[in-house]
Amino acid sequence: MRPQSPASEFERGLDAARHGNAVGFEYLWNRFSRQVVTFARLQGSEDPEGIANVVFVAVFGQLDRFLGDEDRFVAFTFSIARNKVIDERRARSRRVSTGSIEGYEAVGGNVEHDAFAGLSDAARSALAQLTDDQREILFLRLIADLSLEAVAHLTGRSVGATKAMQHRALAAMKKKISEEAVSK
């Protein structure tokens, strides 16, 4: 699971932010914003940093209502991030639906291309063949370091279904890797 930093450190940062202390906000931002940006980018967001900003404004605005430890905070943050990415995707699809086919290709193609920037060709091709749901589960587990149960709760699925989906994703990736190794 997540490498546990001293519990008091996170709690003190959270407590400071709860009291409106800028240092607390800065601590939470520095600690978790990169994960949110990476997740948003891998999920095809056109503006990952914008997503991170919106997410943290929402998170900071609701800190007084938040109860829980660091794991719950991460789940809370990524549930907002997931919703924002979905909202952006919907907005983009609306834009595209009123635009031209060329527009769709430009948006979809570029976003898809940029989403996996920084990954090797093998990783790109292995991830590209997965379904959106499979990718989302993998990214929530790998980037946010959430537990299987947390991902299941966050995505609104049962633990069994989430586990099966994760298994199928990994099996498909392994198959793809094997096929590429044979073709070489």
């Binding site: 009291h19 240092v23 906000f25 600690r31 990952p48 940093e49 990994l170 099996a171 198959k175």
Partner: protein
């Protein structure tokens, strides 16, 4: 789904157990079998580490800036270089009844009705004050308020309006009264009534008495002012009361609305929870069915493969025996053929000798005897061939029997394997 389709994911699931999959995602597995996947997982997992910390946008900076301005206490954390030891507790604002009243007035003043009531009260007070002091003249308002004066009568104390009883006052008293009613005209009045003053000097009443009465009248003015103030305060209190009442009504309405909203939210939440539970149950059932189907298909596929392997082994073993006996048979047949060929050659030799003797002989009887001999050799030849073939027949028959036994045994084994397979499939399905 075809369980023998190598392209399906499920076939690969056999190589990737559930525990392996979970270990790969958690990063706590180190198996060379999954080396490529481990590397790929690590690559994705480390992606955020290589991502630079984003720049806070304007909205976020403003949000954080408010916190800085209101609560700028230095705090440090080990990670961000800031000390959190001094994480402060927000000071609670002092709440008093006065603040509460002001807040209620402000809330009342915020409403349309409040604005109308308060502004009307302020305007009326201002205009009344200005009119009373003579700064402005408001039509239809009396220039002098009806004075209430207590005078001694024979009937006892009673209040009557001074203006109604001018004859009850002395001249000096009336002058004083006029002075009070119109202080700006006091001097002119004095000048105009100089004679009257002189006459007043002859009045039986002393100046001391007049002074006393004047002081009393001034006291009445102060009282009026106090009364006006009191009235204004009462008006203010009434406004506050109305504001409080309006606030209370508003709070009551809001409380009712909140209760209704809460009830609605509760009902929606219950409905949603019920729907979620139903959905969850359906999905669980679906997963269970899916997993069970998948397991059965996998098992059948394994059994099929095992059956094919066993069949191949049985056929291969039988084939070896068949080849052995077929070779043996071929050898026997070759031997028989050789024997028959020897008999043929021997017979041919006999016939050739006899025919040569017949050709060389001139004796008819001898020729007839040679021909009879040749016929005997022909019979011998036929009998010799038949004997030889008959001699080999048991060997060949035995070989054929062996071959037949081998094939029967082979087919029986295969039938047995198929029966076992079908039984195993039925067991897996059940």
């Amino acid at each position: 789904m075809n369980p023998f389709d190598d392209s399906s994911d499920e076939m690969y699931n056999n190589d990737l157990s559930s525990s392996d999959a979970e270990g790969l995602v958690r990063g706590d597995i180190d198996s060379p079998v999954h080396a490529e996947l481990i590397g790929l997982m690590s690559e994705v997992r480390n992606l955020s580490a290589g991502t630079p910390t984003p720049t806070p946008g304007a909205a976020l900076s403003e949000f954080v800036g408010v916190g800085l301005a209101t609560n700028n206490i230095p705090v440090e954390t080990p990670e961000a270089g800031i000390d959190l030891r001094l994480a402060p507790t927000a000071a609670e604002p002092v709440t008093t009844r006065r603040n509460s009243v002001f807040a209620q007035i402000a809330a009342f003043a915020g409403t349309v009705g409040g604005k109308v009531v308060l502004s009307s009260a302020v305007a009326a007070a201002s205009i009344s004050g200005a009119h009373a002091t003579g700064v402005v003249d408001v039509p239809y308002l009396p220039d002098t308020a009806a004075e209430i004066e207590t005078v001694d009568t024979q009937l006892g104390d009673e209040s009557i309006e001074v203006a109604d009883i001018p004859e009850a006052l002395t001249f000096a008293e009336r002058q004083e009264l006029e002075e009070l009613e119109n202080p700006w005209a006091v001097t002119a009045g004095e000048e105009e009534s100089e004679e009257a003053d002189k006459a007043a000097e002859n009045d039986a009443k002393s100046d001391a008495d007049k002074d006393v009465e004047k002081v009393d009248l001034h006291g009445d003015i102060d009282k009026k002012i106090d009364d006006e103030k009191a009235e204004a305060e009462k008006a203010e209190e009434r406004a506050i009361e109305e504001a409080e009442k309006a606030e209370a009504e508003k709070a009551e309405i809001e409380a009712k609305e909140a209760a209704a909203a809460e009830e609605k939210a509760k009902q929606e939440a219950e409905a949603k929870a019920e729907l979620d539970a139903k959905k969850e149950a359906e999905e669980e059932a679906k997963d269970k069915t899916s997993n069970t189907d998948h397991d059965v298909e996998t098992t059948i596929a394994q059994l099929e493969e095992q059956l094919e392997r066993d069949k191949a082994a049985v056929i291969a073993a039988a084939r070896e025996d068949i080849v052995y006996y077929e070779t043996k048979r071929e050898n026997k047949e070759a031997s028989l053929e050789a024997d028959l060929k020897g008999i043929d050659e021997q017979f041919s030799g006999y016939v050739a000798d006899i025919d040569a003797q017949i050709d060389a002989s001139t004796d008819e009887q001898e020729i007839e005897e040679l021909k009879a001999y040749r016929e005997q050799k022909l019979v011998w030849w036929e009998e010799a061939r038949a004997d030889r073939e008959l001699a080999y027949q048991p060997y060949l028959a035995d070989i054929d029997k062996e071959l037949e036994k081998i094939e029967i045994a082979r087919d029986a084994k295969i039938e047995l394997l198929i029966a076992d397979f079908l039984a195993a499939v039925e067991k897996a399905k059940s």
